[in-house]
């Protein structure tokens, strides 16, 4: 280290104070309610090459700890004091990850020397494009997702580039909000600049420059120390998104995690080809891209919360991101809804690490609940209402030590809900219930966390509901170490009536007055064999109305009976009998992961052999053909004779693939070899 460790700790507190001050400035002065409700923004300080050395933890999104600005910084060649640059183009430098995120960066000079950048982003409520809020799963090209500003100086030596601003604001739906938020970002960057100057005054420029390097080294060393304690090895895991496009086929994300000494390699080969929907994750193939690092940062920090959060952590990691796949899409693949795939990616990462340290990690975090928005008319006043209702979250997975958290936690712990009373006053809906979703937890010796459960009623005609990030109605969260899968998420119109309709993964719909919606988040996965769960704990969950009496019997082998006063108790004799019977009849579960039944069924056909063949075939094709080819192959395999063993050993896929090549002579040279 270039500076002494006492000064390092002091400088660390000063850099954090700077980053937190930037965040407060931004939060305080931002215009849009969205920023204040969701805290979907970041601020920070980077080295002249773009490595983030200071990140706020009090406010802001949890995802962007390891963000590296170098890709965008390099696209501007001449920095002067007073410049501020911005971009929201996911394909220019791969700093921005979907168009609503406006990133800005300001060079900070000491005398003539560039010593740091102050940086940050805000998720804009709207940046134009095909749909309000600029996000829809159905979009297929980034051009539809809003106006994109390539990296440019919005301020040149302190002077506003009005023409550039006009172009931006002309193309968005609520320009005064974007401009207000941009001003807040500029104010935050200026705060960062001032704080850097104060630090240079306090510590001297050399100590500052060296110290910043040391802070990155410090985080790197801490990360490496945590990694060293993990057993070396290769840990292979896959996760699925229910649909790769509206009503599409499942989409697979695959991770081979290699732990070697104090380093990590994350190989995403075998993840699906880039999608003709907007759930692609634009990384540019950067081996340390921040989107790929989120799960890793969560895991390392959770294993040791003393870890100092900055991009030094990512130096211990390397990702392999094949181009033309969902983890490294080629322009102009749409990326707006990458949040959905990122959520799945976090779970995938947790799962791979869990295999390495089963006693220190958890089953699948709850997932699949939407961010709910309502757009309607107040009957009394005639006023249009647009309201964020609730993020439907769920808890963390069960662990060796404890049940998962209920309702929220793991990678969704940063979200906040809206009070029921406020929803009724503001959102023009009637709420019938809001709480935890019964029987949604993945059973286990330590069960997974419960999802949240929400039933509401529309009060006016044409009530539009958007439910972004809907997923997991088919493939729910897996358990580990014999713990079982969590419940699937639900999205049902008019439940328990003759008009009942399962909306599955629909993410936009229109309601009539009186229509009820029941929506839940899928539950988290369990840890350990549910037959070993203390019957008293099961009883307590029954008393709490979180596990039904049937659930206790079927999932845990616990028989509940009722006393005279109607209080439930455990029937110890019957419970022992039932558990013995189940143990005797069930084959021991020897696999580490316990996926849900739907996934087990699906993977009977789409087993490792088949998927390896598929991956190899698709990799041969031009990127633009892959999604089409996947759908064509899936559809033919679906209809293949189930009794033919070729359906399961890769041969059917080969033959389907070759047939397709014949149909399109221009693909002839893409034959598998």
């Amino acid at each position: 280290m270039a500076i002494d460790k006492i000064t390092l700790e002091i400088l660390k507190n000063h850099t954090r104070a700077a980053a937190e001050s930037m965040a407060f400035t931004l939060y305080r002065t931002a215009h849009s309610t969205f920023v204040k409700e969701t805290e979907d923004f970041t601020t920070g300080l980077t080295t002249p090459t773009g490595e983030t050395f200071a990140t706020p933890t009090e406010l802001g999104a949890t995802w962007f700890v390891g963000l590296n600005y170098s890709g965008a910084i390099k696209l501007i060649n001449d920095y002067k004091p007073g410049d501020i640059c911005m971009t929201n183009d996911p394909y220019s430098g791969f700093v921005c990850t979907h168009p609503p995120d406006m990133h800005i960066w300001k060079p900070i000079f000491h005398k003539d020397e560039l010593v740091a950048f102050s940086v940050g982003h805000i998720h804009n409520t709207d940046v134009g494009g095909a749909v309000p809020a600029s996000l829809s799963r159905s979009l297929s090209e980034v051009h539809q997702e809003g106006v994109r500003m390539p990296p440019m100086k919005i301020l040149e030596e302190g002077k506003l580039n009005q023409k550039m601003l006009d172009v931006f604001l002309t193309n968005v739906r609520a320009p005064e909000q974007n401009w207000g938020d941009l001003k807040a970002q500029i104010a935050a960057c200026n705060t960062g600049e001032r704080k850097v100057h104060e630090m240079i005054e306090r510590f001297g420029v050399d100590t500052f420059k060296n110290g910043v390097g040391d802070l990155l080294d410090y985080a790197e060393q801490q990360a490496r120390a945590i990694i060293s304690e993990l057993p070396d090895g290769e840990y292979d895991f896959s996760e699925y998104i229910d649909e790769d496009s509206v009503n599409g086929w499942p989409c697979r994300l695959r991770l081979l995690l290699i732990i070697k000494g104090d380093e990590l390699i994350l190989d995403f080969t075998g993840s699906d080809p880039q999608l003709e929907s907007s759930m692609n994750m634009p990384t540019g193939g950067d081996p340390r891209h921040v989107l790929m690092m989120v799960g890793v940062v969560y895991v390392l920090y959770s294993l040791d919360p003393r870890l100092y959060l900055n991009s030094g952590i990512t130096r211990a990691c390397k990702c392999i991101l094949p181009s033309g796949t969902i983890v490294n899409p080629s322009f102009p693949a749409a990326v707006g809804m990458r949040t959905l795939s990122c959520n799945r990616l976090h779970g995938l990462t947790f799962g791979a690490f869990a295999k390495a340290v089963p006693d220190r990690l958890m089953g699948a975090p709850a997932s699949g609940g939407p961010i709910l928005n309502v757009n309607t008319t107040d009957t009394l006043t005639g006023r249009r209402i647009m309201a964020a209702v609730n993020p439907m979250t769920g808890g963390s997975g069960g662990t060796k030590l404890a049940d998962g958290t209920d309702g929220s936690g793991a990678n969704s712990g940063f979200l906040k809900n809206s009070p029921v009373e406020v929803n009724e006053v503001e959102a023009g809906i009637r709420v019938h219930s809001y709480g935890l979703s019964k029987d949604s937890a993945g059973p286990g010796e330590h069960r997974g966390g419960l999802g949240t459960d929400f039933i509401f009623e529309a009060l006016s005609p044409n009530t539009k509901v958007t439910a972004r990030n809907r997923d997991r109605t088919r493939f729910s969260g897996w358990g580990i170490s014999e713990g079982r899968a969590g419940g699937a998420s639900k999205f049902i119109r008019n439940p328990n009536t003759d008009k009942e309709f399962n909306l599955r993964n629909t993410d936009i719909l229109s309601l009539d007055p009186g229509d009820r919606i029941h929506v839940t988040c899928g539950g988290a996965g369990g840890w350990g064999n549910a037959l070993n769960r203390d019957p008293e704990s099961v009883l307590l969950d029954v008393k709490r109305d979180w596990v039904s009496v049937d659930g206790a019997r079927l999932d845990y082998g616990v028989v509940i009976s009722f006393e005279k006063n109607n209080l439930p108790i455990v029937d110890k004799v019957e419970t022992k009998k039932l558990r013995d019977t189940i143990r005797a009849s069930e084959a021991p579960n020897t696999s580490f992961y316990s996926p849900c039944d739907a996934r087990i069924e699906y993977e009977k056909v789409w087993n490792k052999t088949n998927y390896d063949v598929l991956t190899k075939c698709l990799a041969n094709l031009p990127i633009t053909w892959r999604f089409y080819a996947k759908h064509r192959i899936f559809s033919e395999i679906e209809n293949w004779d189930p009794s033919d063993s070729n359906r399961l050993n890769g041969a059917a896929i080969e033959s389907t693939y070759n047939k397709m090549l014949k149909d399109f002579p221009e693909l002839e040279n893409k034959r598998n070899n």
């Binding site: 407060f24 001003k183 009070p419 809001y434 709480g435 935890l436």
Partner: protein, 685 residues
């Protein structure tokens, strides 16, 4: 009547402040707290003060006290056996809370277990809508069943928090009637009494905490009243409130929620009073005890208020003097992490065993030990002569750290101070940037046992130019209780649009609040002095999910001036967020009224300032920033208004030690405050 007395009962010590109105003298005193026998520390302290000849119990006209009994009940989880009745369909309200977990970066982070376990939450069949209308009537059978089950489970207190009860509390009140008739022993707490404000989780959790502490607080207050009686004190017993005011102890028995954070609040009130006297507009109060440092912002003599302050693991939403707690205090322990980096806290040696230099068995190195090793605590006795400073024990405690860091002990001590100050710098900077304030415009007012010791260091790190050390920094919380007004907050959710129609409704609510407030002050408190009403409204632009409390004059309401109220809101919005939108629609969510009955303040003698260089007791060697200095050592008792001297200096007094850094100068003002200013300033900095 000649004496005004205020007492602050902490976990370890009980502080007394006695003001003699005859000669305007202020006396302080400390005794050990007796948590197992509440009230007896008061009896003891009073008799000791009497022996000292500074107090005659029969002549006490004012007796107020602050207590941590309520907050300790929550932290130790030793409160009531609760059951909770909620609207059916919303039984998980405390479990789901507002979803967010304490540390969102940690995938294991979880919210604390609620004070009411879920199996004791009962859904009641009834429904009130947002406008207060009854959608479905109360099903009394479900109520009776729930009461029986709650009783069977061993509950002694039932908390009732139904949806939209801020708009119509009929069902909550009816349930209470039913409980009273069936189970008269059962205590009952209603959300519409405790916090009749929209947002069900906030209202429910606040009411739950209120129900949880009620019995213990009531028992405690009875003991307090009896203690005063047995000490022969005729004054009406008063207790401190989280809003910085006081109320009668009798009322505290039914309104315990408003006194939970009185300990920190009265300290800030004491600091604000000093700031007013000195005439400094922006103050950071800095209260450092053994385990934590509490920082608050005071502008123009008024502390900032907030709601949602934490009591143990739970936020409560009653108006509270806003205080930020930092997990570092005089007893915080220094340690070295696996990478050789020095850290301080959050573990603390507390007051038992305390820092090693107190010689009470503490072996681990604390911040206070670092000060002792550098000579910054002077020599001899500390804490009312109760502790003999043992520098060599401090040195021994630091030795292992010094080895781990490959430094000598003095450098290690300096490093401990620097690292801990940088941690306080971080938290204080965050607090100030939340307000958008520039630290350099603030003066620091340190108090508590360790505040004056560290104050100058923090001021230097923040770039502050002035540090003000009050005459009795160790007992400023008690002092705050001496000068606090009788004060209460009244609030109603109104949820109206700011237009003529809305304003008429608002005026109705205002009338109601004013009657309620006046009744509280005149009837319940029996107060007949000068009173003041302060009006405000929680306002927002339509579509926002957060409100700004905007102060206004009652005239604006009476005159039904829509534009006037709107303008006040635009201005308030602008001053916080640096922008406003005069064309946007404005909503009023809550109407608030604060009533305060002004208590006659003690008149302190001011002293003529004759400029005179103070004579130090001795010159004493200290080490700072790697250098050796000769520091002047003063006794606080001997310093008189007008005295001045230059740093480095150490001022010792009964309840604390003040450290003045080399580039600071000190003068004693007419109230005997130490005004410590950065020297550079005078040279035209």
């Amino acid at each position: 009547m000649a004496y005004r007395v205020a007492v602050d009962i902490g976990g370890t010590f009980t502080d007394f402040c006695v003001f003699n109105e005859k000669n305007s003298s202020l006396n302080t005193h400390k005794v050990l707290s007796t948590p197992n026998n509440p009230g007896s520390e008061i009896v003891l302290g009073v008799s000791e003060l009497q022996e000292k000849g500074v107090l005659n119990p029969t002549e006490v006209s004012w007796f107020s006290h602050g207590t941590t009994v309520g907050i300790n009940t929550v932290i130790q989880r030793s409160g009531a056996e609760l059951a909770l009745f909620v609207t059916s369909g919303f039984e998980d309200v405390l479990e789901v809370a507002r979803l967010k977990v304490p540390d969102p970066y940690n995938i294991f982070s979880k919210r604390a277990n609620p004070l009411v376990p879920r199996e004791r939450v009962f859904g009641i069949s009834q429904r009130i809508l947002k406008d207060g209308s009854v959608d479905s009537e109360l099903n009394e059978e479900t109520v009776k069943k729930a009461i029986q089950s709650a009783k069977d489970m061993g509950s002694d207190t039932i908390v009732i928090a139904l949806l939209h009860s801020y708009a119509n509390n009929k069902h909550e009140r009816r349930i209470r009637e039913i409980i009273n008739s069936i189970e008269p022993e059962m205590a009952v707490t209603l959300s519409s009494d405790v916090w009749p404000v929209i947002r069900e989780y906030e209202r429910t959790v606040t009411t739950t905490v209120a129900g949880y502490v009620q019995r213990r607080v009531a028992n405690y207050l009875t003991a307090f009243q009896n203690a005063l009686k047995s000490a022969g004190i005729p004054a009406i017993p008063m207790i401190g409130k989280s809003n910085g005011g006081v109320m009668t102890a009798e009322l505290g028995k039914s309104d315990p929620i408003s006194m939970l954070l009185s300990g920190t609040a009265t300290g800030v009130i004491g600091a604000a009073e000093i700031a007013k006297k000195v005439g400094v507009s922006s103050i950071l109060s800095f209260d450092v005890g053994g385990t934590s440092a509490d920082v608050a912002v005071i502008s123009n003599g008024e502390p900032a208020y907030s709601s949602g302050e934490m009591v143990g693991d739970f936020p409560i939403y009653v108006p509270t003097v806003s205080v930020t707690s930092i997990g570092e205090g005089g007893g915080s322990i220094a340690w070295v992490d696996d990478f050789g980096v020095l850290k301080v806290g959050p573990e603390s040696a507390g007051s038992n065993p305390g820092p090693a230099c107190y010689g009470q068995g503490g072996k681990r190195p604390t911040i206070t030990d670092a000060f002792a090793v550098l000579g910054l605590l002077g020599e001899g006795k500390l804490g009312y002569g109760k502790v003999e400073l043992n520098v060599s024990a401090a040195r021994d405690a630091l030795l292992p750290l010094a080895e781990a860091l490959s430094m000598n002990v003095k450098k290690t001590a300096q490093s401990i101070i620097d690292v801990s100050v940088s941690g306080m710098f971080l938290e204080t900077t965050k607090l100030l940037s939340r307000f958008g304030a520039d630290p350099r415009s603030f003066s620091l007012l340190p108090f508590g046992g360790a505040g004056p010791m560290i104050g100058c260091f923090l001021a230097r790190e923040l770039g502050l130019r002035e540090v003000i050390v009050p005459p009795t920094p160790g007992v400023l919380s008690a002092y705050g209780g001496l000068i606090a007004d009788i004060r209460n907050d009244f609030i109603r959710t109104v949820m109206i649009d700011l237009d003529q129609n809305g304003l008429s409704n608002l005026r109705e609510t205002a009338k109601f609040l004013e009657e309620e407030a006046t009744h509280w002050l005149r009837k319940e408190q029996g107060f007949d002095g000068e009173s003041k009403l302060s009006w405000s409204a929680d306002m927002r632009y339509r579509g926002q999910s957060y409100e700004i409390e905007t102060a206004f004059e009652k005239n604006d309401l009476d005159a039904l001036v829509v534009d006037g109220l709107a303008r006040l809101f635009h201005e308030a919005h602008h001053s916080i967020y640096e922008h406003s939108d005069p064309n946007a629609e404005v909503q009023i969510v809550n109407l608030r009224l604060v009533i305060s009955g002004e208590v006659p303040k003690p008149k302190f003698l001011t002293h003529p300032e004759y400029k005179q260089l103070a004579k130090p007791l001795i010159s004493h060697t200290i080490y700072l920033d790697g250098q050796e200095f000769n520091a002047s050592l003063f006794e606080r008792d001997k310093l008189e208004p007008g005295h001045h001297f230059t740093g480095p200096a150490i001022i010792s007094q009964n309840d604390t030690t003040t450290v003045v850094l080399p580039d600071f100068d000190v003068k004693v003002d007419q109230f005997k405050n130490l005004i410590i200013s950065k020297r550079k300033m005078r040279n035209g900095d």
